[in-house]
Amino acid sequence: EIGQLAQTFNLMVEGLEAAYGHVRSYARTAGVSRRKEVRTLNTFQTYVPREVIEQATRDPKGILQGEERNVSVLFSHIHGFAEISEEIGDPEKLVSQLNRYFKAMVDVVTARKGIVDKYIDDAVMALFGHGERRRDDVLQSVHAGLDMIEAAERFNQEQKKHGRPEFPTSVGISYGVVTVGNIGCERKMGYTVIGDRVNLASRAQGMCKVYHQPIIFTGSVFLKLKEIERYQEKEKGGEAEEKAKDLMPCQMIDYVAVKGKRDAERIYTVNRNLAGTQKQAWSLHNAAMEEYYPNRNFSNAITLFSQVQKLLPGDRASATMIERCRRYEREPPGPEWGGYEVMKTK
């Protein structure tokens, strides 16, 4: 029996050895599979927002749907990117620089609790308030716009230092109802937003070049900003009234009807760090815009705009307005005049 025992014992030990061998190899396989899964998920998440992935894994059928939401849409754009890319030449260098630029932009957006919806060549389209809604989404979007301009500045300093071309950046922001959803089909999906507010943001950004402003947003953004300020004022108990009011000094640039649309939008620019004279000038400018429309008091407007000019020599916005007021003084517009300029270009 002892012999049998020894035999059986040996068999068992062999069995154990084999088993442990299997355990190791399976543990390895499991580890590899798990890592692969994580890797795929991580890679995926860089292309598609995480919440979309999560939702899709929960409910694969329900992803092709749309719903309406109030969001702030932000577009950033690099002027003359075609020329810049030709200047850089080498594709790897180009993409590497572009990626660095994008990283800076994306970091800003994420820091302000927004998400990057997509890149359109050199443009970044970001959304604020599309997921978890916060009261100050619009404020955050405007801050993000300004942050992006500052980040672009820093990026450009780096570029200059290394003898590389600068990426001049401008930002457009709009606010309103958009349709959010997974659009597309099984072969190709895109999680994005559609709606005319989206186009408006793009047009707003396009106007930066026309009006020589780094950032332009629409009237809906402005109204929302003021609303937030009032709300924050209330929160602070009213003592910081002055401070809150000047949180986001805005200057109304113009009143335009963008190409392809019937309705007109007021467009504004904004500056976080307004010095004393600038602040004053902006108040005057905004008052002058009132005189211009709806008051049609062109001479008053001109006076005010000229004061602005004195405070800010070379200020384009007021200069443009002076010209226009003079034009309307000479040829007063008809009664149907809506006070806005029709944009002929995108």
Partner: protein, 558 residues
């Protein structure tokens, strides 16, 4: 050979040998003892008789009566009766023999057989005083004798051998019985005991074999005692525990592995909806990331839905997305069929490219064919739209514009860790968008660039629409619309139109061109492209373009 047997083979002989030894030695001791006693008693009797005889004769001698025969006779009788009184058992016999062996006196009946007398005579002659065995009267006897001179007797005190040795025989019997019983008992005990010892061992072995044959790791061995076998059983159980755990782990890992693989597969399938498969594969195979950026010649296709903003305003978001997705499904199917990669949706616009990640000889042709088929697919889409509208839905027919260009673009993964897109950027892409944008102006559904035309002119029919001042290279470039083929009047019209374009530029024969365009108008009533060119030619007839004119519409800003 089993352990039990071994133990039995060792222990049993030992036990039996011991028992036997003990039995035999005690038998011999006992039998010797008894024999000794019997003999000594015989000797005692013999010596007592002798003493008595001698004392009687001495009496005679002292009294000087030895000459008187009747006294001697009386003494003889006295000795004989004394001898008789010595007998303690019925089988004792004391006899005196003459020197010739004849019986002189006996305490019982005695008749010597023939040979016996001689034997006795010999003993008498030898005056034998030892213990001896002699046959007397046919009965074997044990005795001790002496020669008594005065009577000339050889006296023998005897006992029947059988009686003499009866005690011994009894002892022998008893010993044998005891021996037998104890050996039997020993055997039984050994058998039982070894069985009891080896049973746990058998059990362990049995369980082991069972586990090995049935591969059922749930079995354990009972630990009955804390001896080596008990420890063996314990250790065995531990080993089986170990094995069970190990197999459990194997199963769980295998399960995890398969679950992970499934999840990864599902994830990747979903992923492929958003990003081209080969891009994903590159990501997963290379350690640091996806495809490296490079300049490649690709065909870019951009499509857009006319007046989408207006359309979308009139729809509920669910309906909007539903219709949009139905539209996309059709369009993307076409593009995929021709080997294109849909890079992105920008609102209602589709951006796709052909030639990356995999390059083909006919990328431009495939892109152009896609454009044509997308327009054809739109008819299918609109048919459904009409059906839905008839049922009371808010569906309207859609119109699209498609632009196709061909050239070098920078292709690769663009973005940062948080957000990536596999994209193709460059003037090629921008110009494709422009072409698409100009479809409205020329009232065409698809417009391709000169570079595309060069690739497709043998396969598709092209109509020269205009000259774009900058194209994507900064130099003026021709733009065309395209169809699979044109027949009859349409074919004539297209050929005429193309010829007219030549007259327009570089021919500068505006009058001729205008009339040719007029003819095209007749062949294709309501044709916008030719009527536009006709007007332009008329204008340039009167206001001639400056020297160095590139053929593009003057005053047209790019």
């Amino acid at each position: 050979m089993s352990i039990r047997l071994k133990i039995i083979l060792i222990v049993l002989p030992l036990v039996v040998a011991t028992l036997l030894l003990t039995g035999v030695s005690s038998y011999f001791a006992a039998s010797n003892g008894i024999s000794q006693v019997a003999r000594e008693f015989l000797a005692f009797k013999s010596s007592q008789l002798r003493k008595h005889a001698e004392s009687q004769w001495t009496l005679l001698v002292e009294n000087g009566l030895t000459g008187r025969p009747e006294m001697v006779e009386a003494t003889r009788e006295a000795v004989a009766s004394y001898a008789g009184s010595l007998a303690t058992s019925a089988t004792e016999l004391t006899a005196a023999f003459a020197s010739d062996g004849s019986v002189a006196m006996a305490t019982g009946d005695l008749a010597l057989a023939s040979g016996e007398q001689e034997a006795v005579a010999a003993l008498a002659a030898a005056k034998n005083t030892d213990y001896l065995t002699v046959d007397l009267g046919g009965v074997q006897r044990v005795g001790k004798g002496f020669w008594f001179e005065p009577f000339a007797w050889y006296v023998l005190v005897t006992e029947e051998r059988a009686t003499f040795y009866a005690g011994v025989n009894e002892i022998l019997l008893r010993t044998l019985i005891i021996l037998g019983v104890s050996i039997a008992a020993a055997v039984v005990l050994v058998l039982v005991f070894t069985g009891w010892l080896t049973r746990p061992l058998k059990r362990v072995v049995g369980t082991m074999e069972k586990i090995i044959t049935t591969n059922d790791l749930g079995e354990r061995v009972e630990v009955e005692y804390h001896d080596e076998i008990g420890r063996l059983a314990q250790t065995f159980n531990l080993m089986v525990d170990g094995l069970e755990t190990a197999y459990g782990q194997v199963r769980s890992y295998a399960y995890q592995s398969s679950v992970s693989r499934q999840r990864e597969k599902r994830l990747r399938n979903f992923f492929q909806m958003y990003v081209p498969k080969s891009v994903i594969d590159q990501h997963l195979s290379s350690p640091h990331g996806g495809p490296v950026a490079e300049n490649r010649v690709i065909a870019m296709l951009t499509s857009d839905i006319r007046g989408f903003t207006t359309i979308s305003e009139r729809l509920r978001p669910e309906d909007l997305v539903t219709q949009l997705n139905r539209y996309f499904a059709l369009m993307v199917e076409v593009i995929a069929k021709h080997g294109g990669v849909v890079c992105d949706y920008i609102g209602d616009a589709i951006k796709a490219f052909f030639g990356a990640p995999d390059k083909h000889e006919d990328d431009a042709l495939q892109a152009a064919l896609s454009a044509i088929e997308m327009i054809e697919a739109l008819d299918e889409f609109n048919r459904v739209q009409r059906e839905e509208a008839a049922k009371g839905g808010s569906n309207v027919e859609w119109r699209i514009g498609v632009g196709v260009n061909y050239g070098v673009a920078t292709v690769g993964d663009i973005g940062c860790e948080k957000k990536m897109i596999y994209n193709a950027i460059g003037r090629v892409s921008d110009f494709a968008s422009e072409l698409e944008g100009s479809t409205k102006k020329y009232a065409q559904q698809a417009i391709i660039s000169e570079r595309v035309r060069r690739e497709v002119r043998n396969d598709l029919a092209c109509r020269h629409l205009d000259i774009h001042p900058t194209g994507d290279t900064g130099r003026p470039t021709n733009i065309y619309t395209v169809k699979r083929s044109v027949e009859g009047a349409e074919r004539e019209a297209w050929e005429l139109h193309n010829a007219a374009m030549g007259e327009y530029f570089p021919g500068r024969n505006f009058a001729k061109a205008a009339s040719m365009f007029a003819k095209v108008q007749k062949l294709l009533p309501g044709d916008v492209a030719s009527s536009m060119m006709q007007d332009r030619c008329r204008r340039y007839q009167t206001a001639s373009p400056p020297p160095g004119w590139d053929g593009a519409e003057i005053g047209e800003t790019a």
